[in-house]
Symmetry: C2
Subunit: 454 residues, 2 copies
């Protein structure tokens, strides 16, 4: 689509129209965060800021959009005129992509005239939560792989083309070494990877011919898929092909096993390859893998030199969506909070101060943005001012390296794949006091209006 204006929930438009009509156009601040971490998550990897900024820069309503809005009969001409001229003019502060974040910490804060800040809610949640979720999954897979490379194979399982290309980006940030998705490889400069399909072996009728053809074409990168018919036989055919290649002065990189009992089959294959003098041939495993399964394979001593991960990586697997929220924390009336059951928010524009010692994250302090600088490294930095990007963006390599270092600094209990414990996130004195004061005032107001209506 040309202009992404209609990529918003209908209620955002209804509310924005009322705000405009009532002159509620003073800047307000919304914070995008996660109330509690999903099951088995001890950290999140912030990701998707770049696409969020692209969206804010492009946000506009073209004539098709205006025409459709007019056709609903729900909006008056002055609001449609406003939308026709709409450009996002606000500020964004954000945690840099690749950095770790925890529950209640703002990943991103938007300060903009209230109608603008409201209209961009839906897509900011969508873009930041999706990539943050996949980058987190990828980081967990990287931890499980314990140094072995893994490839993103999720294109066919992703939710549309766009999701696949974004998932490959987030997977790379989290630690994937390569992607099978050519468009993602081109767009993000990621190494493309892939082996062969079972149908390739079937098309040639037998492994002997298929492997020779493939090795001839793929050269020294050739990875042979050995489980189309019978894996033991496939491994023997791979041995034969590898030897032929050696005689011709080339080599085969390895084999891939995609089905069956991966640990047992990989052990058997390793034994055969080693016995045949092919110790340098790598074994790649794939097939319904995720961080739990990879950790199990690694702990069983499966001789895997790398993994291909699809479905579980690109879709988030056990966490299909991050339940991020976008909450009003400050407006013309000052800092705001919300008390509703289980959905408590903390008031005010914030900063996260990260305290580290000896290369390990000790704790985060959730502070007010304009508190005098105290201890700890501030995580949120300006990303957009007055609707314009502050800088031209970071390379994915820089972001990926930031993630790698952030994972190294996590305490072991936060890195655990099951029942992890996040580092402590405490409130600064100023934030705690503000929160207590506003909560008391809100409780008092609530008690008052608890009287029967007149």
């Amino acid at each position: 689509m040309s202009a992404p204006g209609l990529l918003t929930d209908f209620y955002e438009l209804t509310m924005a129209a009322i705000y405009l009509e009532r002159g509620l156009v003073a800047p307000a601040t919304f914070e995008l965060s996660v109330r509690s971490l999903p099951p088995n998550r001890g950290f999140l990897v912030a990701c998707g800021l770049e696409q969020a900024l692209d969206y804010l820069e492009d946000m506009a309503f073209d004539e098709d959009a205006i025409g459709w809005l007019a056709s609903t009969g729900r909006f008056d001409d002055s609001f449609l005129r406003y939308l026709r001229r709409f450009r996002f003019s606000g500020d964004v502060r954000a945690v840099p992509e690749g950095e770790t974040v925890f529950a209640r910490e703002p990943i991103l804060e938007v300060s903009a005239p209230l109608p603008e800040a409201q209209l961009v809610e839906s897509m900011l949640l969508n873009l930041v939560a999706f990539q943050t979720n996949v980058a987190t999954k990828a980081a967990r897979i990287a931890l499980a792989c314990a140094g072995r490379p893994f490839a993103d194979f999720s294109l066919r399982r992703a939710h549309g083309a766009d999701a696949a290309v974004l998932a490959a980006r987030a997977a790379f940030v989290g630690g994937a070494a390569s992607t099978s998705d050519c468009e993602a490889a081109r767009r993000w400069g990621i190494e493309p990877s892939g082996t062969m399909a079972h149908s390739f072996v079937m098309a040639f009728g037998d492994e002997n011919r298929a492997f020779r053809e493939y090795a001839g074409a793929a050269g020294d990168r050739a990875v042979l898929l050995v489980d189309t018919f019978d894996t033991a036989r496939g491994v023997r055919e791979a041995v034969r092909t590898a030897r032929e290649r050696l005689r011709e002065g080339g080599r085969v990189l390895g084999i891939r096993i995609d089905s069956g009992d991966l640990a047992r089959t990989a052990c058997e294959a390793r034994r055969v390859l080693d016995a045949e003098g092919l110790a340098e041939l790598r074994i790649l495993l794939s097939g319904d893998l995720d961080e739990y399964r990879i950790e199990e394979l690694v702990s069983q001593g499966a001789p895997a030199d790398g993994f291909g991960v699809g479905t579980q990586l690109g879709t988030g697997g056990d966490v299909p969506a991050l339940q991020a929220v976008y909450k009003l924390v400050e407006d013309a009336g000052g800092p705001r909070l919300k008390l509703s059951l289980g959905k408590r928010t903390l008031p005010g524009r914030k900063q996260v101060l990260r305290r580290e010692a000896g290369g390990i994250l000790l704790e985060d302090i959730l502070a007010l943005y304009d508190e005098p600088a105290g201890e700890g490294r501030p995580l949120l930095a300006p990303a957009m001012l007055g609707g314009r990007r502050v800088s031209s963006g970071e390379s994915l390599g820089v972001i990926r390296e930031r993630c790698r270092m952030a994972l190294e600094r996590l305490p072991a209990e936060a890195r655990a794949l099951r029942d992890p414990r996040s580092p402590r996130v405490r409130l600064s004195k100023a934030l705690a006091e503000l929160d207590a004061r506003l909560a008391a005032a809100a409780e008092a107001a609530s008690a008052h209006s608890g009287d029967p209506p007149p």
Copy 2:
């Protein structure tokens, strides 16, 4: 992006290049199906054919794509020349969107020169599996709602903008009454829906003012969100606003509850509304809902007049991706099958014959495509011939109605949300015989080559 050529796995290109070089360009048939239904799924709703056909029509490689492919150093000039001219020239047969399908039944079959059929694998899987998964989830939610309408609220949880717009389409096919996603509403002609956010109440400081403003703007469609601070108080404020509107000759449509114990809170709200003479006000429920939760609410007698469903609907929830496969079933050498462990495929181009009696689905017969017509209604129909669409596409309303009727015809045990039982899918005599013959031949070949290599 302009041309979607690179939206494919790298190995598809490697394989296609080898096929071309070796002259393996005779038509081959691949079948897209699901080997076994995901947990708690008794049926699937076929969806995404329209986008699959769009993709096949658009599939091409632009100069950027060719340049990137050349830069990888893995492809020779003759293959790049082939890709530069690439257009999909094959045939597609498919189950119409909205129809129910079961395990092992082809949702779609592609017959095309082998390299073409191979190159389009990744995106066909992506597009058909995603929408089929969401349409299935929506159909399950529709069954749980037992006649009450539900709205798609998934935009903020979807995997990018594209995923949101496609999820809204699939949700509508499966039975959603409306969507909060304006772009989806515009593109697919779906009713837009939405209420207000908690931040709206906060921006006005109290419910009294926020509700009056909202009711004034939204008119008779106004649904008031009552749980920003305290739900009981919110309901009383909604009563006050509804009465004011009645005095002014208008009305309020209802209230929405988004947190807490929904069944209990809805009962309390219903009692208050009825006692206040506002029996016509509807109660809409939202907040982490899916078909299981809705079934529970309905069985508890929660007085809900409608539901809003987000995360679980747009992402597939408990089934984040459908593990569809795309398997070679026939090529120049005739029908093919694959025997590898747990990944058995059935050979040959197929037809699904559906037998129904008294408005209930009795069984499906999986037959060969060119078997003499027997009993049952054939499900697969030509959708594309020689790279061109057979027809200009169906309206979403027609597809949605097909789905509604197909759900009605399902036996109750297939519709069950937990531990369902699918209708029987049996093989026709001709398919069973072909399968047995090819399997025996493959086993014999496997036993033979099981001898130690020379």
